[in-house]
């Protein structure tokens, strides 16, 4: 009997009683607000996807740009006046679920169309910023102690200058500079191992001098980016570029990666010194594999949290831009420009302000709640307490 019990112990190693999924469920069950956020998010996602199918194509089920001037500013749940409408102008649901705007367009279908815009702007912008953030932060954290040498800097200057000169139409000098660059790349790739340290001449020694570490460079770039007031910068760039939804996504993404970079760098700096990384290196794994298989999964938690909250703020930024008139160009509907059109009729048709406003509020709130819940879930200190 005693032996049996011992065998039993040996067979089952001392693992945690609950799997990670169960832990997750447990912590989320404790945090009801986060669960609510997740549910709303899933609902919003489904709405946006169905909205995309219902409102796009040549003859959509709910046409967001169908103008019915005789039916303008009808309140929500109003029945359409069937005599005055052509058959194809009658809304698909039979009633104006959320009323109509000043051109008689169905607000419900415009909201459906706008949901997809908000969703894609949030996800694509945050995707861009997270990619840049992980890339820059990873390099700064993992390769941070490496230094740029003088020749690297000269070479980059040559490259930039050459490209610039070609762009402003001075082809000869530009081509010369670019060819110097490519010659140097060839030279340094082929001759890397041939030169020993001792036979370096004076000029080569200067070329090989360390100047600035990778970490310093990247963190200074982050500092520079942080100096710009973000909404003002986004506004400037969006106003100068031609209006399109892709520009907005890219600009929001390009101006919000600094936080992620800092998180990732900090995580990488601490993880790089851990024993499991040393073990992986002792096994002879390459840098690439160590970064992506061993360090990244451990560093992803804070990124995930900040990305979730970043989506919320990207949606808010897009709505703000649309509100100021720099958003997605009409006739495409977004929640921001429904609201900004509706504000002129705020006393006659309050639903034009309140429906998109409350929709933005709920979606952003759900992302924020879910993000904070995620922070609690991924925080091991809090997990042990429960």
């Amino acid at each position: 009997m005693n032996m049996d019990k011992k065998d039993f112990y040996i067979e089952s190693p001392p693992v945690p009683k609950r799997t990670r999924m169960q832990e997750l469920q447990h912590v989320f069950a404790q945090n009801r607000l986060a669960l609510l956020g997740l549910l709303i998010f899933i609902l919003f996602f489904c709405c946006a996807v169905t909205g995309l199918f219902l409102t796009s194509g040549s003859s959509p089920v709910c046409d967001p740009s169908m103008v019915r001037l005789q039916e303008k500013l009808r309140p929500p749940l109003a029945r359409p006046n069937l005599e005055s409408l052509k058959p194809r102008e009658i809304p698909a649901l039979g009633i104006y679920l959320m009323g109509t705007d000043d051109l008689g367009r169905d607000v419900f279908s415009r909201m459906l169309q706008g949901a997809w815009v908000s969703l894609t702007v949030g996800f694509v912008a945050v995707g861009i910023s997270v990619l840049i953030g992980i890339f820059m932060g990873g390099i700064a954290g993992y390769f941070g102690q490496k230094h740029f040498r003088m020749d690297h800097i000269l070479f980059t200057l040559c490259l930039v200058l050459g490209t610039g000169l070609i762009i402003i139409n001075s082809y000869v000098v530009g081509t010369v500079l670019l060819s110097i660059c490519s010659a140097y790349i060839f030279y340094s790739l082929s001759g890397r191992n041939r030169f020993k340290k001792k036979d370096l001449s004076f000029w080569k020694a200067i070329l090989r001098r360390n100047t600035i570490s990778v970490d310093t460079l990247i963190m200074r770039i982050v500092d520079i980016m942080l100096c710009f007031p973000s909404f003002f910068l986004i506004l400037t760039v969006v106003a100068l570029l031609p209006a399109s939804i892709y520009n907005i996504m890219i600009v929001i993404g390009l101006t919000s990666w600094m936080g992620t970079t800092r998180f990732v760098r900090a995580e990488f700096l601490s993880l790089r010194e851990q024993d499991f990384v040393a073990a992986a290196r002792a096994l002879g794994l390459g840098n690439f594999r160590i970064i992506f298989r061993h360090i990244m999964p451990n560093a992803v938690a804070p990124v995930l949290v900040s990305a979730t909250i970043g989506i919320a703020s990207a949606i808010l930024t897009e709505a703000g831009l649309s509100f100021l008139g720099f958003g997605v160009p009409p006739p495409h509907a977004t929640w921001g420009n429904i609201l900004s059109n509706g504000k002129n009729f705020i006393f006659d048709a309050p639903w034009l302000t309140f429906i998109p406003g409350i929709a933005i509020l709920i979606v952003v709130l759900s992302f924020n709640l879910f993000g904070e819940g995620l922070r609690d879930v991924l925080n091991p200190k809090l997990r042990e307490r429960h």
Partner: protein, 319 residues
Amino acid sequence: MLSFIGRSVVQKTVTLFFVSIVSFLIIHLAPGKPSQVDPLNPKFTPEVVERFRKEFHLDKPLYVQYVYFYQDLFTGKTISWKDNQSVLKKIWERFLNSLPLFVVGTLITWTLSFPIGIRSAIFRGGIYDRSTTFLSYLLISIPGFFFAYVLIIFVVTHFHVPVIGMETFGIGDAPAAYLFMDRIWHLLLPSVLSATGGIAVLSRYVRSQMLEVEGQEYIRTARAKGLPAEQVHYKHALRNALLPFVTMFGLILPGLIGGSVIIESIFSWPGMGRMAYEAILARDYPVILTVNFVSAVLVLAGTFISDLLYLVVDPRIRL
């Protein structure tokens, strides 16, 4: 200490230099020319455009334009392309308009969020804590422009006071007390709006700081000594929890100019944000670049001040 100051001044100057280059490039490499803002305007004949380009050095290469621009900026000679007024004077006027908004907003933020945060940390897990948590998420998530309209409707229909603009139009020769109240009413809504987000974030931060300190050993000791609860909370815990907030005084500096484009344009408040917005619409590059430069200076000065305050407040930190 002196070496730290010297090093960070040098570093920040270099950063500022690169910021000036980047912002200049962003503005000038973007498609579209300022001389093409209004192509349908019959006054914009090719000769006028040519004169305009010559006047503002737009026909020179970019680096020459850069030197010209910052030379003008530092000698205070920059003029707006739109109305030929001195940019620095314009910014100063608008800044004086934005200042009351900023001061009142910051005061509201800091006076409200500390009591809220401290109370919800002391009664953590209770109904008060949970409701303020939810409320602060709500305030973070609400789009400012939507909230502004809700508040405007509420105030206008319930209190019958005017709220748009800086003062009631044509109020001229009213009694002083009336003028004062008018100003207050106009100031109230925009500053409350600009404070909402700040209150939500700051009170959460106060709460988490307090919670962290309350978990420390010396708090347990203080409690074990039999000290009254108020003394433990407000003397032992709060003093240590306040440390990070001293440094945040430096970080509110950029708010002076970043301001709120959206709120100022809703309330047609003639402040910095609105001026920047109008400058963007008119492609008034000198104004845009100057606002950008000044705000970068403020950000750098803010971080510098907060580093210094850290040094002064926390003797453990040696930079």
